[in-house]
Point group: D2
Chain length 501, copies 4
C-alpha cells in the first residue's frame, strides 16, 4: 500500500493559474437566463478570473451592420447586446478574455461557416472595414468600461486558424495579415492594450514559431501566445448523437504544453506569457466522457500541474448551455460543460470546486493528489483515483501520515465517485429522459451534491495516520483540522444518560 508522509515544512510550487480563465459557449448565449444562472452559481463556488468564448462578431450579437443611407451602405455598430453580455460578466467578477472573431456576414469574403450556429470563417472582404470594426469595438469598450479596466482584457485574434474548418484553407499568411492589422489597430487606441495569438489547436505547432518570427520581422506587437490542448484520440465511432474516443494519458497534456513552451523560448520572445485558451479531454461536444467521474479524475493531475508550465489554462467550458453541435437534445449529451442543463453539477465541477478549497501553501503533489496547508494550519487535500478499466473493483488505498499539534483531529471529507454525486448515472437509471419533467429535474439536481463524511481522528505522538480509500474514479476533498475541545465546559454533561447512546 502506498504511503505518503507529509511534512509541514515543504513548499512545493502551486499557483492559481487553473482558475485564471474558463471557457464558454458563444458569447451570444450569455443573453440567456439559463446561462446567467449557471454563471452565477459557478462564480459563487469557484470564482474564475476571466471568461473566453467565440462569436463576438456573430449575427446574434449583431455588432456589425450596414445601413442604407440615401443609397449608400454605411457601417453601423450596435453594442446593445455586447454591453449587456460584458455587464453580466463583470457583475459576476469575470473579465472578458476577448476572442476577436468570427467574420460578420456583411464583411466576409466567402460563405464558409462552422458550427450549428454558422460562424463565418473567411477573411474580411475589405481590410479597412475590418480595421474600423476592431477600432470602433475596442474604443467602445474603453469608453464604456474605462481604460484601466480594458487594459486588463487580453485580445486574442481569431480561433484555431490552423484548422481548415475554422479559417478558410487554414491559410497561415492570411492569418498573419489579419493579425497584423488587428494588433496595430488595437495598439492605436492605447499602446498598453494586450493583444496576442495565434490561438491554434495542437498539431501544427510550427505556426507558433512562424508567428513570432513574423511579428518580430514585421514589428507587429504581440503580448502573449495562445494555444489549445485536448488529449482525445481519433474517434472510434461517430453516431448522430454521440462521438466516442479514447484519451491519451493525462501526462500527454503536460508534455504538449512543455513542448510549446520550449518553442516559444527559442524565439525572440522567450518570456512571452503563454495561455492555453482552451483545454479539455475530448474536443467533441457530444462525447459522453465529459459527463463522467472518469473525466473529473482524469483532470486532477492536469489542474495540479499545468500551472507550473503555462500562465493560464482555460477549461472548455463551464456550462452545457452551448450550441456548437446543436441545441442540446437531452440534459446529458456529452457536452463540455462543468454543469449540465438545469445547472446540474457534473463530477468535474466538483474537481474545480474542491481545488478552490485548497490552502495557499502546497506541501506535496503527485499523480494522485495534492496536499496543501491553510494559514490556520488546516491540511486540505484533493485526491483522485483515475481508473481506465471497466468494472467495479478498483478501490485504491493510500496511507497518509501528517503531523498535528493537537491530540484529536477533525476530518471533513467531500467526494464524488461512480456512486455519489453522479447525476449522469442517476439519469441513466431513470431511463435517460430527454425532456425531463420538473420533478425529474428536481430529483437530478438533488443528486449532484458531493457526499460528505466527517470523523474525529486520534493522533499518535502528534502524528495522524489516515487510510484514504477511494472508489473508482473518485475525486475527494479532505480537510484535517486541529480540534479545540469545549466539551468540558458543559456542566454535568453525561452522554451515557441518553437512551440509545
Amino acid at each position: 500500500m502506498e504511503k505518503i508522509i507529509v511534512s509541514r515544512e515543504n513548499d512545493i510550487p502551486f499557483n492559481k493559474h487553473w482558475k485564471k480563465c474558463i471557457g464558454t459557449g458563444r458569447l451570444g448565449l450569455a443573453l440567456q437566463k439559463e446561462y446567467v444562472d449557471h454563471l452565477e452559481r459557478l462564480q459563487q463556488d469557484i470564482a474564475f478570473d476571466y471568461i473566453r468564448g467565440h462569436g463576438l462578431f456573430h449575427e446574434d450579437i449583431g455588432i456589425y451592420k450596414e445601413i442604407d443611407v440615401d443609397g449608400t451602405l454605411t457601417p453601423f455598430y450596435n453594442f446593445t447586446y455586447i454591453d449587456r453580455i460584458f455587464d453580466t460578466f463583470l457583475q459576476n467578477n469575470l473579465r472578458p478574455f476577448v476572442e476577436l472573431g468570427f467574420m460578420p456576414k456583411k464583411l466576409a469574403s466567402g460563405t464558409q461557416t462552422i458550427f450549428y450556429w454558422e460562424g463565418n470563417v473567411t477573411p474580411p472582404a475589405d481590410e479597412k472595414k475590418w480595421e474600423e470594426l476592431i477600432y470602433h469595438t475596442v474604443a467602445h469598450f474603453v469608453e464604456r468600461y474605462g481604460i484601466e479596466e480594458v487594459l486588463q482584457w487580453p485580445f486574442e485574434v481569431w480561433n484555431e486558424p490552423n484548422l481548415t474548418n475554422f479559417w478558410e484553407n487554414a491559410d497561415k499568411q492570411a492569418y498573419f495579415q489579419l493579425y497584423k492589422i488587428t494588433a496595430k489597430t488595437i495598439k492605436s487606441i492605447h499602446p498598453d492594450l494586450n493583444v496576442g495569438g495565434p490561438a491554434i489547436c495542437g498539431g501544427t505547432d510550427e505556426w507558433i514559431t512562424d508567428f513570432l518570427h513574423f511579428c518580430h520581422k514585421e514589428q507587429v506587437p504581440v503580448d502573449f501566445i495562445s494555444r489549445h490542448a485536448y488529449t482525445s484520440m481519433p474517434p472510434k465511432k461517430k453516431t448522430p448523437d454521440y462521438y466516442y474516443q479514447d484519451l491519451a494519458d493525462p501526462n500527454d497534456m503536460l508534455t504538449q504544453l512543455t513542448s510549446v513552451k520550449k518553442l516559444i523560448h527559442d524565439t525572440p520572445y522567450p518570456e512571452l506569457p503563454f495561455h492555453i485558451t482552451e483545454y479539455n479531454t475530448s474536443y467533441s461536444p457530444t462525447n459522453p466522457i465529459h459527463d463522467t467521474n472518469y473525466n473529473a479524475a482524469y483532470l486532477g493531475k492536469i489542474l495540479s500541474h499545468a500551472g507550473d508550465i503555462v500562465s493560464s489554462f482555460s477549461y472548455w467550458t463551464f456550462s452545457d448551455v452551448f450550441e456548437e453541435f446543436d441545441i442540446p437534445r437531452a440534459p446529458f449529451h456529452g457536452g463540455f460543460g462543468l454543469m449540465a442543463l438545469h445547472a446540474i453539477r457534473k463530477p468535474t465541477y466538483h474537481l474545480f470546486s474542491f481545488f478552490n478549497k485548497l490552502g495557499d501553501t502546497c506541501l506535496y503533489k503527485d499523480d494522485t493528489m495534492i496536499v496543501t496547508k491553510h494559514r490556520d494550519n488546516t491540511i486540505s487535500i484533493v485526491a483522485w483515483n483515475l481508473i481506465h478499466d471497466k468494472g467495479d473493483n478498483h478501490d485504491k488505498t493510500i496511507t497518509l501520515s501528517i503531523p498535528f499539534s493537537s491530540d484529536d483531529v477533525f476530518l471533513y471529507r467531500e467526494m464524488t465517485n461512480e456512486h455519489h454525486a453522479n447525476p449522469w448515472r442517476v439519469w441513466q437509471q431513470m431511463g435517460r429522459p430527454r425532456f425531463p419533467s420538473k420533478d425529474q429535474i428536481t430529483l437530478l439536481k438533488s443528486c449532484d451534491a458531493p457526499f460528505i463524511q466527517t470523523d474525529r481522528l486520534r493522533t499518535e505522538n502528534k502524528l495522524l495516520t489516515y487510510q484514504l480509500t477511494m472508489a473508482k474514479n473518485e475525486v475527494t476533498l479532505l480537510h484535517f483540522s486541529d480540534i479545540i475541545d469545549e466539551t468540558h465546559t458543559y456542566i454535568g454533561l453525561d452522554d451515557s444518560l441518553l437512551t440509545s447512546y
Copy 2:
C-alpha cells in the same frame, strides 16, 4: 426476516392531521430575523397549516398598557408588534392557533411567573379589564384580517392550567371562570368564532370531563378540547445545562390520546374536535434527546398513527429559537426545535419532510413503516428503525414485495441515521463549539442534508422484491416509480465504447 407484501388495492386510513399545526417559542420571538428565516424554510419544505405558541399578552409584544391621562390610568392596546407577527405567519401560509395568555403584568392579581422570560401566571386582577382586553384584541384581528379569515383561527384559553407553575395553584374553578368570561366575550364578536380549552397537560385528565360538564351546565360555548402529550419519564439527572430522562414506548402516546378521546365521548359533547396542542418526546427544552436520530425514529409511529385518534397534533416546536429555559447557550442544547440555531435541520425535521412526500393513499402501516401510493402510481414509504439499546450493531432488514406494471423500477431513497444527516454528531466531533465561527456554521449546515441513494431495480413477474436495510435509528424515505425508458431513442448509443465504462 420480516417480509411485507404490499397490495395496491388496500386503502388504510391516513390523513394529514400530523401537519395541521406546529408549535413555536413565545410569539414575541417571531419578531426575530433568525426565527423568520427558520419559518420560511420550514414552510417551503413541510407547509404546516397552523402555528401555536405562548406569550400573546407578554410584555415583549406589549398589547396591554395603561396610560396616565390627566391622572387616570386608561387602558391602551398596542397592536404594532402582534400585527407584524401575524403578518409574518400568514405570509408563510400559517394561521395562528391563538393561545390566550399569559397575564399582562398590569392586569395580574399576583406576581408568580414562569420561564426565563417571566410570563405571569396569575388570574386577572380585574375580570372586566380582561374581558375588554380579549374583546379589543379579537375585534382588532377581525378588523385587520377580515372575519372570514379569523373564523378559521381557534382561540384556546390559557396553557396547562392544571399545573401550578402555569396557573396559580392550578385552581380549576378559577380557570373555569376565566374560560367562561373569555369564551363569552369572543362569541359576542361573532358567534361562529372558535373557542376551546382546557389546554391541560396529561396527569389530571378528569379536568376534561369536569370542564365539559361545567360548560354544559353553565351554557358556556366550547368548540374544541385541547390537551398536551409527552412521553418522557421523571428526570434521571438534572444539570445546569442538561436534563436527562428515559422515554415510555411510543405507543404510550397513542394510549394517552385514546383514553382522553374516550373521556370526551362520555360527555354531552361526544363529537367535539380534539386537538393535541403540544406533543413531543421529552417536555424539557434541555434534553439532548431532541437533537438525536433516536428522537426522529421514535416519532415515526406517532406521526403515522396519531391522526387516527385526534383532529390535530402539534409538535412542540419547529425551531430552537426559543427561550423558556434561557437564551440558547450553544447551537445544540437539547432544544425542542426541528431546527437547531442557524437553521440546521435535525433528524426529526427530516422525519416530517419525509412524511410530507408521501402519497395520498395509504396502502399499509405498522410499527416501523408507512407505505403510500401517489396518483402516478409511485410507491412512497417512510420507514424507521428505532433502537433503544446502546452500541452500533442494530441494522434491521425488511423484505418488501410490491407489484409494478413495468419491468424496471427506479428507486430514490433519502435517509438520516447515526452516520448521515446527523449534525449533532458532527458538532460533537468538532469539540462542541459553543459559539461556532462562520466557517464552522457553514460546515455544520452542509452536514444536515439527507443522504441520497438511487438505483434501478428489476421486477420479476411484475413483482419487485426489495431488501430494505436500515441502520440504527435510521429514518428513510423511499420512492419506487415505473421507468419509461427512452434509451433506445439515442441513435448509435453504445456505452461500451466509453473508456472505463
Copy 3:
C-alpha cells in the same frame, strides 16, 4: 367645463378582457434573461392571463430537425428550449396562446422569409410531416403539462395569412388547407383542445366569412376566430431608423371590432369567441409613437371599451426585447413594448397598471375616463387627456361629483404626462445616448415611476366635488376613499406646538 355626476348605483358593463392576453416578441427571446426580468415585473404589476408570440417552430427554438440515421433523414423533435420557455411563462402565471408557425426551414416548400430573424412563410413541403410535427408537439405539451392544463391553451393556426409577406402569395385556399390538417390533428389528440384562426390582419375581412363557411362545409373544427387591429395610417416617412405615421381616431378600432363581430354573427357560428390576438396604435416596431404619453392616452378609450365587443384583445407587445426589425439600436427606438430596454416602463405601461387597480364595479365610462367602485366603497378612476395637437397648453379640467358616506375623503393620485414618468423625454434631454452607461440607465429607470399626489378633501352634504385637471396626454389614476380618522386617539396631540407647522 365638463361636469360628471357619479352615481354609486350604476352598473355599467366592464370586464377584464383587456388583461386576458399580452403579445410578445418571438418565443425564442423568452430564453433571454432580460426578457424574463421584464416579464416578472409585468406580471407582478399587471398579471395578464395569456401570452402570444410568433416563432414556435423557428430555428432558434429548434423543435423540428431531420437527422441522418444510416442514410435516412429521420424527423427528430427537440423540446429542450420550448419546455424552458413554457415553464417560464407558467411560472409567471401566464398560459401560452399558442400560435402555430412559421415553417421550419427543413419542412418549407420555399425560401420566402419575414423579419430580421427570417421566419419562413411558405407552406409545408410535405403535409404529412407538418401533421406529424403538430401531433408530436401538442402531444408533448399534453404529456409534460397535463391535459387539464393544455385544454386551456388556444391553438391559433399561423399569423396574418392574408398578407403576402406573412404567407406566400397570401394564398387563401392554401391557408384553409393548412388550417384543416392542423385542426384535425390537434383534435385527434383530444377533442376538447381549442383550435382557431385565421389570425388575419384587417383589410380583407371577407377571409373571416370565407373561413367559417369553409369550416362549416368541410366539417373542420373551429373554436374561435382571431384577427388583429391597428389604427395607423400609411407611413408619412420611412427612414433607416424610424417610421412615421398618423393614427386614426381611437374609435376606429372599436368600429373595426364591431364590424368583424357582425360578420361572424352572420355565419353558421354566430356565437364563436372572437379574439384580437394583436392590437396597437402603429404596426411598426420603429414608430416613436409607442414611446410616448400620447400612445398611452390614446389607448384609454380602447382599454375601457373594447372588452364589450371581443373576448380578448392582446396588446402587441409587453417589451422592447424584440427583434422583428433588428436588434434594438438604442434604448428608445419606437418599439411596441410597454417596457423599453432595461425594463424602463413607458407611459402605456402605466395605463395598463392603472387599469389593473380599478374596482370590480363600473359606475361610469366615457371617452375620457372610467369610474369604478371597490368592495370597500373606494372609488377608483382612470382618466386620460388625449391631445392630437402640438404645443403645451392643453390642460383639461373636469368636475367630478361623487357621493361619500364620510365628511372627509382621502385622495391618492398617480399620473404620467409629458412632464412626469416620461423616460423617453428624459432620454432626449440627455442627448439620446444609444448605449447608455450604467449610471445613465439607473437615472432613466429612476424617472419611470408615476408622479404621486395625495390630499384630504372635504365633502359637502356628503357630496365630494373634485376638479380634475389633466396636463397634455396625461393618464391619471385616482382613488377616493372614506377616512376613518383616529387623530383623536393621540392624547395631547397639538400640531400647533410644532415649530414651522
Copy 4:
C-alpha cells in the same frame, strides 16, 4: 435675490465625517427582522462606516449570567446573540462603535433603571466581576473576528454618566473609576485597542477637562473623547404621546462642538480624536419634529459643516425600530429614526442620501447649500430652505452661475418638501391610522420617494445660469452634467413628424 457664482477652481474643506457613524436603538433590537430590513436598505443607499447603540450588556442579549454549579454561582458568558448581532452589522459593512454598558442585573449594585426596557444604571457590585466581563467579552470579539478587525472598533465606556438618570447620582468619581478599570482591562488584551469616554451629553462639559486630567494623572489610557449634542430647548408640553420643544439655531450645534474642541485642546491631549457619538435636533423619541421636512432642512448646515470640527458625528438614530419610550404606538410617533416603521423613509433620510451623492471636491458651502464637483466634472449640489415660521408661502429662489464646457447641460433634481416625499403628511391626511392595514402601508411607502425633475438647460458663453427655487423646508439634490449629444446619429430623425409633438 441671492446669487451664487460657482468657481470650478475652489477647493473648500469637506470630508465624509458625516457618514462615519450612525446611531441605533439598543443592540438587542438588531435581532429583529424589521430592524435588519431597515439596516440593509440604509447601507445600500448611504453606507455608514460604524454603528453605535446602548444595551450591549442588557438581559435581552444576555451576555452575563451566573449559574449554580454545585451550590456556587459561577459566571457564564453567553455570546450567542451578540455574535448574531455583530455578524449582521459586519455583513452590512458596519463596524460596531462599542458602547460598554449598562450594568447586567446580576452585577449591579443597585436597582435604578432607565427606559422602557429597563437598563440598569448603577455601578458594578463587584469591580473584579466587571473586569472579567469586559475581558471575556472583548477577548471573545478578538477570537471570533480577529485582532485586525477589532483594532478598528472604538470602545466607549458607558453613556451620559453626567446625567443622574443614566448613571446613579451622576457620580463623576465613580465613573472615572469605572473608566479606569475598563480601559486597563481592554488594553491588557491588546495595547492598540481603542478606548475612550466620557460619552457625556452637553451641559457639564467640565467633565471632559476633568476626565482628561484624571487620565493624565492616573496614567489611564484614553484614545478618544466622546460627547453628545442636541439642540432642543426645554419642553413646551409633554403629553402621554408627544413631547414638544423648540430648537435653537442650527449654528448652536456647531458652537457646542467648537467649544468642547477648545476644551480638549487645553488639556494634555490636545489632538485627541473627538467623536460626537449622538446628535439630533430633539433628544426626545416622541417629538414629532423628527418626522418632518423641517428636521431635514435644519440638519443641512450641520451635515455640511460639523465634520470640519469633529472626527465623527453620529445621527441618533437610523430607524424607529426603537423602544426607549415604549413599543412604537403608531407608524409615526416622533421617533429619532431616519426611517419610520415599515422602512418608510422620512425627509431626513433623503438629506443623508443626497449628501451621499455629492462629489469628492467641494467648491462652495454656506448656510443653505453645498456645491461639489465629481471627477467627471458633474456639479452636484445639496440645498435646503429651512423655514421656522408657520404657513405656506416661503419659497426661496437663488441664482446659481456655473461654468460648463458644453453648450447644453443636463439637470437631474431630486427633492423632498412639504408636498413631496413627505409620508408623515400623507399619514395625517389618511387620519393617522395607528395600526395601518397592508394596503395603507403600501400606500405610505409609495409616497416616500423623492420627487424627480429633469431638464436640458442652455449655457450662455459657457456659463449656466440657473434659478433654484425651493419650497418650504425643501431639501434638494441637483446634478448638472455636460451633454454628449448623439441625436444626429439617428438617421432621418424628425420629431416634427410625430403626431402631438
